[in-house]
């Protein structure tokens, strides 16, 4: 069964009169419970593709189908809902909210998903889940710390906890180990492995073959198209 189906995705950027054709007809089928790694050189368009899968950006052409619906034909509210509830996004550069502490950064995606009236009823359970997730990524002691008090690896793990908060159908991670040392990378991969074992669908972007080899399946972006590469 497929979770996400991307068909014939094109993405061009027009910048300063120059036309940059980054994605040139990407077809991708993300299967349920699989762990997929997307490889490619820097600038090949990996992040661009992941953003399209996460509904953060719009393709110049083509579609991404989730549960049979084309994401980019959904009304604005539904697309917001998709981003909030159905995918969890881990950014290449963490992107935490600097004013909020670790716990609040994780909670915020749950808050966005519930109205101000519903929130008081859900708050307790949500806090518990957020704390639990942070515990699972090894940050049980850092709940009240703000991002500027955390190391890169710790920030990345907060970002992962945030992405998992609403139990997404698909976890999209953009270079989750890109800026980390070998030991920290290994611990993140270990975390993904256990998530995968528990049935989490994961799409991970990386340019590191060693990291990619942990995944079930690897695809490579070359000249705007995907080619299957041997794992």
């Amino acid at each position: 069964m497929s979770k996400l189906i991307a068909s014939n995705l094109h993405r061009r950027f027009r910048e300063g009169g120059q036309d940059l054709h980054v994605l040139r007809g990407v077809d991708l089928d993300v299967r349920d419970r699989e762990w997929l790694a997307i490889l490619g050189r820097s600038g090949s368009g990996k992040s661009t593709l992941l953003h399209l899968l996460g509904g953060l950006d719009r393709p110049t052409e083509g579609s991404v189908a989730f549960n049979g619906d084309d994401l980019f034909k959904l009304p604005g509210g539904k697309l917001d809902r998709y981003r909030n509830a159905h995918v969890g996004f881990v950014f290449q550069f963490y992107h935490l909210l600097p004013e909020l502490n670790a716990l609040e950064n994780v909670l915020v995606s749950s808050m966005i998903g519930s109205s101000a009236f519903a929130w008081p009823g859900r708050k307790r359970a949500a806090r518990q889940r957020a704390a639990e997730l942070l515990g699972r990524v090894g940050l049980a002691e850092r709940l009240r710390h703000r991002p500027n008090k955390l190391s890169g690896g710790e920030r990345q793990r907060v970002a992962i906890a945030r992405a998992l908060m609403n139990a997404p159908d698909v976890l999209l991670a953009d270079e989750p180990t890109g800026n980390l040392d070998a030991d920290t990378s290994a611990s993140i991969i270990e975390l993904f492995r256990s998530l995968h074992a528990a049935g989490q669908t994961i799409v991970m972007v990386t340019h590191d073959d060693a990291v990619a080899s942990a995944a079930d399946r690897q695809v490579t972006l070359v000249e705007g198209r995907l080619s299957t590469s041997a794992g």
Partner: protein, 490 residues
């Protein structure tokens, strides 16, 4: 829900919102103070003007006045809309005070009735108590026998009563050598010796209350000629002075009894003479120039004016020789003064508009800066599912919060300052010798120190609305961005 959390976080973590809130605080405070003080003065002025002329005035518009006024007053008294009516003569004369001749406005009044319509009694400035206070201030206790008896004598006199009866004390009549000596009450600013001190008070030792003056008036014919060829100054004993609250009036007006002025102006009843100069046995009607009417409680001005107009017509129908009479409200009588007041209100409103624009721009810029600074955060929030409306609401709510905080603090400070304005002024005067409000120069003794709650609430709401308006553009800009655009923002 994240909106509230973010708003409160943004409010607490940044300097910029503090500046915006400070700007709102200052603007709100300033406007409330200006409106309160200015409005206070305007209200004082209006109240004084109204107090001086009752609510509705009936006038012949001439110095010769009109007869049958008692009939008119009886008719007005019968109206349910009118509480009281009193006749007056308004004329002009020369007052000789010391060696100065002052042109003055002379009003002849019936003190009791006049008091009922315009609150004359309470405008009399000198009271026995003020006189005794001044005495006690001068003589240290214990008093010797002579001083004590002098004080007792002072205490026996009722200065206000003299101003009501217009009957000078016997000693004054003796001194003048006239048993029929009449009394006069002067506006307190007429005598140049009367000076206000820093609290706006006058000194009884410099007052005119034991002076003798003379008054000259011109009896006029209906053609405007002078009636009596032998016009002589008439002596009067000053028994009190009044302070109405309108400088122009206090510097120009004197009061005498109505019947005294009628005699002086030949407007009293006198026997008509035939062509050869023999008495005919027929008497003329006494005349006055105006009748002042006070409204019964709760009766609108215009309703009273219409009712009085009806009474005037009724009397006019009975007497063919009654001149045309005009009925006007006190607002019409004081139109020039009130239009000046109105103008100043316009000025204040204009000021208010400018200040609101300043507040809008301040909050607008602050929020715009915050939006720019927070663009990445906006991208993050959108990426994890926040809607455009939600983002717009964060910034609108932010503007609202800044507005509410600023308006509340501003209103609170304004309240404190205005309520203690006179105390603050005393304090400034004591420490720095500086008076922002000097009753020596200005006519009201005190700076108005009351904030009208309705004004304050309206201004506060205005400030909050200004802030939300200022936040609109920023909120719109924030909401417009796509998540990835915002995330790529450096």
């Amino acid at each position: 829900m994240y909106k509230l959390v973010l708003i409160s976080k943004y409010l607490r973590r940044k300097l910029a919102p503090m500046f915006a809130a400070l700007a709102v605080t200052l603007c709100t405070m300033m406007v409330i103070i200006v409106i309160s003080v200015m409005g206070g003065f305007l209200d004082l002025l209006r109240a004084s003007a109204q107090r001086l002329s009752g609510d509705v005035i009936v006038s012949a518009g001439s110095f010769t006045g009109f007869p049958y006024y008692q009939e008119l007053i009886d008719a007005i008294d019968a109206l349910p809309e009118a509480e009281a009516a009193t006749p007056i003569i308004r004329s002009y004369g020369l007052l000789k005070l010391g060696d100065r001749n002052n042109p003055v406005e002379v009003e002849g009044i019936l003190p009791e009735g006049y008091d009922r319509v315009v609150g004359y009694k309470q405008s009399l400035y000198w009271t026995t108590q003020k006189m005794l206070d001044a005495f006690d201030h001068r003589y240290e206790p214990p008093l010797d026998e002579y001083e004590q008896s002098y004080r007792d004598k002072l205490a026996e006199q009722d200065l206000v009563e003299f101003g009501m009866t217009f009957d000078p004390p016997a000693a004054r009549k003796q001194r003048a050598g006239r048993d029929d000596l009449d009394a006069i009450v002067l506006g307190i600013e007429i005598s140049p010796r009367n000076q206000r001190d820093e609290q706006g008070r006058y000194d009884i030792n410099r007052s005119s209350i034991s002076d003798d003056v003379t008054l000259t008036v011109l009896p006029l014919t209906s053609e405007g000629g002078v009636l009596d060829l032998e016009i002589k100054p008439r002596p009067f004993a000053v028994v009190n002075e009044f302070k109405s609250g309108l400088y122009d009036v206090d510097a120009n007006r004197v009061y005498v009894r109505l019947d005294t002025l009628q005699k002086m102006l030949l407007m009293d009843a006198w026997e008509k003479l035939d062509d050869e100069g023999f008495p005919t046995g027929e008497k003329t009607q006494p005349r006055v120039t105006e009748v002042l009417v006070k409204a019964a409680p709760g009766v609108p001005l215009e309703a009273l004016r219409r009712a009085v107009d009806g009474a005037v017509r009724k009397v006019q129908r009975r007497h063919a020789d009654m001149p045309v009479l005009f009925t006007m409200t006190w607002e019409e009588r004081h139109r020039t003064l009130l239009s000046a007041v109105q103008n100043e209100k316009g000025m204040v409103t204009f000021l208010f508009v400018i200040i609101s624009v300043v507040a809008v721009v301040m909050v607008g810029t602050t929020l715009y800066m915050i939006v720019l600074e927070k663009t990445r955060d906006i991208g993050i929030l959108r990426a994890i599912g926040a809607s455009r409306l939600g983002i717009a609401n964060v910034f609108l709510g932010y503007g609202l919060a800044i507005g509410i905080i600023g308006a509340l603090i501003g209103a609170g400070l304004a309240y404190l300052i205005v309520n203690n304005l006179n105390g603050i002024q005393e304090w400034l005067a004591a420490w720095f010798g500086w008076r922002m409000w000097n009753p020596q120069t200005y006519y009201f003794d005190r700076i108005p120190d009351e904030v009208k709650t309705t004004d304050a609430v309206a201004i506060g709401i205005g400030a909050v609305i200004s802030c939300v308006v200022g936040a609109l553009i920023s909120a719109f800009i924030a909401a417009r961005q796509d998540p990835i655009e915002a995330l790529r923002h450096e």
